[in-house]
């Protein structure tokens, strides 16, 4: 099986990677946008989960709450991915050997897949009361995304 090390090495060597590494402020600035987007992304997910469990906004249909939050959820995800890729490029080789980074990826891809293939469709079809399946889906999405956040914070701490 071919090694993925050359790919990480290539990422580490791009002009963008070097530019970020050569700047004292680029990394913290990008990291701040990553954190803003985390707040919005997880925040919108928490509100929707609370709605599915019938704890807030019961006068609105679940699909309605999901619609209201969708642009915020989408755009924060875009900011999250763009800033995340930039952060990754600037320290790709460090990430390669970082267990937390690997765990983060193991959560990230299922989280994206689950949200776009299953979760979004479920909430779009829900009216006032979420069936058990919908609640389970909400809990799964929440665990996957918080797992991404948890492992992400671990990159800096644990190695």
């Amino acid at each position: 099986m071919p090694s993925i090390v050359p790919f990480f090495q290539w990422c580490d060597d791009t002009m963008v990677s070097q530019a970020i590494r050569n700047s004292r402020v680029a990394f913290p600035i990008i990291e701040n946008f990553h954190l803003f987007a985390l707040t919005v992304l997880l925040g919108s997910l928490v509100v929707l989960t609370l709605r599915q469990f019938g704890l807030v906004y019961k006068t609105q249909a679940i699909s309605e709450v999901a619609n209201a939050l969708r642009p915020w959820n989408r755009w924060s995800l875009v900011v999250m991915l763009v800033s995340g890729i930039l952060l990754f490029l600037s320290e790709a080789m460090k990430c390669y050997g970082n267990t937390s980074f690997r765990v983060k990826m193991v959560f990230l891809f299922p989280a994206l897949l689950f949200q776009f293939t299953i979760y979004n469709r479920i909430v779009a079809a829900e009216d006032k009361i979420a069936p058990t399946g919908g609640k389970v889906a909400a809990a799964v999405a929440l665990c996957l995304w918080f797992g991404v956040g948890l492992a992400g914070r671990g990159i800096g701490f644990l190695g």
């Binding site: 004292r24 402020v25 913290p28 990291e31 701040n32 954190l35 803003f36 985390l38 707040t39 919005v40 992304l41 997880l42 925040g43 919108s44 997910l45 928490v46 509100v47 609370l50 704890l55 807030v56 906004y57 006068t59 609105q60 709450v65 209201a68 939050l69 915020w72 918080f146 956040g149 948890l150 914070r153 671990g154 701490f157 644990l158």
Partner: protein
Amino acid sequence: MSILSACQWLQDTYIGTSIRESIWVFPIVETTHVLALSISVGLLLVSDLRLMGYIMKRRPVSEIYEQIKPWMFTGFAIMTITGIFLFWCQAVKAYNSIFFKTKVILLIVAAINAIAFERGIYRKVDKWDNALVPPMEARVAGWASLIMWAAIITCGRTMAYTF
């Protein structure tokens, strides 16, 4: 006793030293502080956006705000508790950081903004509860809140760096 020596004393206490020197406690407290952003500022965002007239416009402002409030306060309680422990174990570093000082000032201003909103225009919410776009004073409070919280997050994150 100067503030600096008080900070030194605080971080040298048994609890301060234990957190700072532990392998797991500090990362756990810090990670909780970061992830709880979603239930504090993340939920605040929703009520602020309603206040600014951007989302859920067909529902009353008071409904959007009051229902999310207990959860939001839970989030801010987690932030406060974890924040106190983080300060406790690195008080001198915090004291010497311009970002931490700015953060504290902004937290106070954000609290004043919230209280002024509750005691001001929100008292008369009956008159504008169903407005698609709330009155100027309410919108300004929403904008001010979001801008300050963005700055607070930035200060908090940037505290970790020395330039």
